[in-house]
């Protein structure tokens, strides 16, 4: 979507991600999504009188991994209390990093070459989850409320970007790239549908060259699609307001996916005063160099590097191939493409098979060894399997493993040998001398004619590429 002529949007994102630690941020309770309500709780995360928090070092590891992947400075940090009353917050304050976060001053480069600055990536604890019965399903007007404290105290990292994003598409690309990084660090599973990543977008608009406008914050966007749509909607809403002579009010807004619009949640002027102060129950966090080095050493390559490595295997990558690279990196399946390239196979063909057939059944890839995949691709390349046959072999191996040659043999896929294809092509050339002459004179379109004829004779068993190879050998 493009904005009206002369307008620009300014967007910054706050991304909350749950960390994949074994236990919660300040106690030993299991950090697990989907348990029976109020089963992963103890005096500490329930905030019982007298209980005290103790920082989970694994959460610090993950926070540092995220910071390192985002080129942040890791500095001594502290924990503060953010005070506000809410039933799903067991202590009626949230422990969060405030003026001294663990990570600050980094950046994230997007695939299109743009760079978004990272102001900070700090640690905090999640709240419990309220369910409101009766009324609209929100707290106001509910007949009763139930609280599940399983999520209370789950570690979060909040990643705050600078106001560097200039379009909803760029915001989406940033969120997607960040998601890939979080998955690559092992800090998050990136499951948006389970709420393990949540987005808040700060949106303002301005006429090109003017200072920043008043911003609105859209809270709790939980998919990349919602993020993009909500930002576009909000920017247009603000432009319309200004063009109508009104002003934008600083406020927090809610995105309604069904109505496809944002609405006022609360106006900033009466925003809560959180009375932040240093949590006296916790000590300063200052990971020493040895701890930082240990974390850095364990950090694998990030999506950008992996993407570049994959693209370097392709001679002149097409748009479609670049899209396929995105899919493969996102799912972490590039090892299959690299294995084919290492065996001197066709990386382009491998990429296509991984981005389509493997991606479609990604839950089963553990059944498919890279060796079996390399063999299948090379069979297809040599013309021993047609594209359709190769897909069938791959889908069976994803289902139940097995050897590609044995599966192909069981289907009778290998009956069309190179010899028999050669004689079929020869007889078709003889039967169509005019077309053959035009092909020899350089009209490549005629290749399709011969492929069609071969397919007709072989009832689709032939490999198109192999047919072209036969034609070229005789040209």
């Amino acid at each position: 979507m493009t904005l009206p002529e002369g307008w620009e949007m300014v967007v910054g994102l706050e991304v909350h991600t749950e960390l994949l630690t074994k236990s919660k941020l300040f106690c030993g309770c299991e950090n697990h999504f989907g348990s029976e309500p109020n089963t992963n709780i103890c005096p500490v995360c329930l905030g019982l009188p007298g209980s005290l928090p103790v920082l989970n070092r694994e959460a610090v590891d993950f926070a540092m991994r995220i910071g390192m992947a985002l080129h942040c400075t890791i500095a001594p940090s502290t924990f503060h209390r953010k005070n506000y009353f809410y039933p799903d917050q067991s202590k009626d304050y949230q422990i969060s990093q405030y003026d001294l976060p663990i990570n600050s001053g980094g950046y994230l480069d997007l695939p299109d070459g743009s760079r978004v600055s990272i102001e900070r990536a700090h640690m905090e604890e999640d709240t419990g989850k309220s369910t409101h019965l009766g009324g609209s399903g929100r707290l106001a007007g509910a007949e009763s409320s139930l609280v599940d404290y399983n999520r209370c105290g789950v570690p979060l990292v909040e990643i705050v970007s600078g106001p560097d994003i200039r379009s909803a598409a760029q915001a989406r690309a940033y969120a997607g790239e960040l998601r890939g990084i979080l998955i690559a660090t092992g800090a998050s599973d990136g499951r948006l549908e389970e709420g393990s990543m949540r987005f808040d977008a700060n949106v303002s608009v301005r006429r090109s060259g003017e200072p920043f406008g008043t911003r609105c914050e859209i809270k709790n966007l939980n998919s990349l699609r919602s993020l993009q749509r909500a930002i576009d909607y909000e920017a247009l809403r603000q432009i319309e307001l200004i063009e109508d002579g009104a002003t934008v009010r600083q406020e927090t807004r809610h995105w309604d996916e069904n109505l496809a619009e944002t609405s006022t949640l609360r106006v900033k002027e009466d925003a809560d005063d959180y009375r932040y102060f240093r949590d006296p129950d916790l000590v300063d966090l200052a990971p020493d160099q040895a701890w930082q080095d240990r974390v850095r050493a364990a950090l694998g390559p990030m999506p950008a590097a992996r993407r570049a490595q994959l693209v370097s295997l392709l001679t002149t990558p097409s748009e479609a191939q670049l899209d396929a690279v995105e899919v493969v990196i996102d799912l972490g399946l590039e090892r299959y493409v690299h294995a084919v390239a290492a065996a001197s196979g066709d990386p382009g063909l491998a990429l296509s098979r991984v981005a389509n057939e493997l991606a479609a059944d990604v839950g089963n890839v553990s059944n498919l060894t890279t060796e079996a995949f390399v063999t299948t691709v090379s069979m297809e390349q040599r013309g021993e399997l047609s594209a359709t046959q190769a897909k069938t072999v791959l889908s069976e191996m994803l289902e139940a493993g097995g050897d590609p040659r044995a599966i192909a043999a069981a289907h009778g896929f290998e009956q069309l040998s190179a010899d028999s294809l050669g004689s079929t092509v020869a007889s078709l050339i003889e039967a169509n001398p005019d077309e053959w002459q035009r092909y020899r004179d350089g009209d490549d379109k005629l290749a399709q004619f011969f492929i069609g004829q071969v397919m007709k004779v072989t009832r689709g068993q032939a490999n198109g590429k192999a047919v072209i190879a036969e034609l070229q050998a005789r040209r």
Binding site: G50, N83, R275, D281, L282
Partner: protein, 474 residues
């Protein structure tokens, strides 16, 4: 009344039993608790089971701890599993903790027998135990007077010979002040020496659990049991617990002790005299007294009454009626929280929550809480400067002997001034103790205060022991 070390020795030797010591304690409680209102709850079954367990171990020839069979009273802001824990507040109505405070586990492991929970100023906010939602405790030495506070119940339990030792907590003087008013030894340990896990927080950066006893040795004995690193408390010191009892008779020969003007000026004449007499007694025992002035200490009362309420306003937020304790029903959750807190907290607690909320508010933070933190830094520096010159400091614990009921309840400022000598060391995080020395008005005891740098408890006990002997006790 036997000392704790004597009881433990008798029980270990078979001259007495944990059960017999407990029954003696229960008999005194039975006789005097109605009058004095020391215990809010006596845990008969739990105490008898704990005593039986100690006796059984001895019968089987198994080892028992340093406090074998010693009945101990517990301030009711310490969590004890299954035992009602109220902080003397209606807001915790009916709550029984599902876990033990670390100090409870430690005294149990040492063979002590917790007999019940003692009265306090609500959430430890007060200096007379008059702020208890369940009525005040009387001073056993003169029942027309307060026992001090906030650990008034724990002080009175020992002063009334119900138990030989008890646990209190000290945020601004809540152990040392009632110890002084009840003629006891009371210790505020170095911040982090004793675990706060299971101590219901008043002001987390100031709170410390510590002992009451009649003798210096008993406090050293109990503190040895309490001290040491606890992985459940992030502010717990990592070093191993110090050896204390072994050093009680080390004396003060060659020690330099600073007599700090700001820690006795303005006190009653009898109190100032007692402090000067104590200085003379320490000189007699070989110490060198150095007169000192630490002007920064004059700022500490104001700083304390911003920092402590600020932390309390956050610590006490969780008492909202959602999960435990009192709930006053209302139309929606916000109204329920408001009604619960309005009904559940007493006036002093509300006053401090309001004060603390204000001090932390946007636009006021820098002028109040921020400024108080700067005073705290200055206080720490002032003490550090003093400890470059001297080993320990000497002053008064309280401005006067025990006062009468109602004497200071009308004016919160007058009540707050009671803690003017005890507050500075809480801000610094250093240890201090009160030891009885001399008497004042009506023959009531006076406490003098000994202060030292972090982890100097052994030296403090040695100096206190010198005063104990000089005062003619033992």
């Amino acid at each position: 009344m036997k000392s704790a070390s004597q009881i433990a020795a008798d029980v270990r030797a078979g001259a007495s039993s944990a059960a017999a010591e407990l029954e003696r304690t229960l008999a005194v409680i039975d006789e005097r608790n109605d009058e004095l209102h020391v215990f809010l709850h006596v845990d008969l079954d739990g105490a008898r089971a704990a005593a039986a367990a100690v006796d059984e171990r001895i019968a089987r020839g198994q080892s028992v701890g340093a406090l074998a069979g010693v009945p101990i009273a517990i301030k009711d802001n310490l969590c004890q599993m299954g035992v009602p824990t109220t902080c003397s507040s209606k807001i915790l109505d009916g709550w029984r903790p599902p876990y033990n405070a670390t100090v409870i586990d430690r005294v149990l492991a040492a063979g002590a027998v917790p007999v019940g929970k003692t009265n306090l100023d609500e959430f430890a906010m007060g200096s007379s135990t008059e702020n208890s939602a369940f009525g005040p405790t009387r001073n056993p030495l003169d029942t027309s007077r307060v026992p001090g506070g906030s650990s008034g119940g724990s002080a009175a339990a020992v002063a009334a010979d119900m138990t030989s030792i008890s646990l209190g907590s000290d945020t601004g003087g809540s152990i040392r002040q009632p110890a002084a008013l009840c003629g006891l030894v009371g210790v505020k340990p170095t911040y982090g020496l004793v675990s706060r896990y299971g101590l219901i927080a008043f002001a987390s950066s100031l709170d410390q659990v510590g002992p009451f006893s009649k003798t210096v040795e008993d406090s050293a004995l109990l503190l040895e049991v309490l001290a040491g690193h606890d992985p459940l408390d992030s502010t717990s010191l990592p070093e191993p617990a110090p050896s204390l009892v072994a050093h009680v008779n080390d004396g003060v020969a060659g020690k330099r002790i600073g007599l700090v003007r700001e820690l006795y000026e303005g006190a009653d004449e009898s109190v100032v005299t007692a402090v000067r007499d104590a200085a003379a007694a320490l000189t007699e025992a070989g110490a060198q007294i150095v007169e000192l002035s630490l002007p920064e200490l004059g700022l500490t009362l104001s700083a304390y009454y911003l920092i402590a309420p600020a932390e309390a306003s956050s610590n006490l937020a969780r008492f909202d009626g959602v999960r435990y304790g009192l709930r006053v029903d209302a139309d929606d959750v916000t109204a329920m929280m408001e009604a619960t807190r309005t009904a559940g907290f007493g006036p002093e607690v509300k006053r401090r929550i309001m004060l603390g909320t204000y001090a932390l508010s946007a636009g006021y933070y820098d002028a109040y809480y921020g400024q108080a933190l700067k005073v705290r830094t200055l206080t720490i520096a002032a003490f550090a400067r003093a400890y470059q010159q001297v080993d320990l400091l000497l002053g008064a614990t309280t401005p006067s002997v025990a006062f009468t009921f109602g004497a200071k309840t009308a004016d919160p400022m007058a009540m707050y001034l009671n803690d003017v000598f005890t507050i500075p060391t809480n801000l610094a995080g250093d240890p201090a103790l009160s030891v009885p020395f001399g008497t004042g008005e009506g023959g009531l005891p006076i406490g003098v205060q000994l202060l030292g740098p972090g982890r100097s408890e052994a030296q403090l006990f040695a100096a206190a022991r010198v005063l104990e002997i000089a005062d003619g006790r033992e």
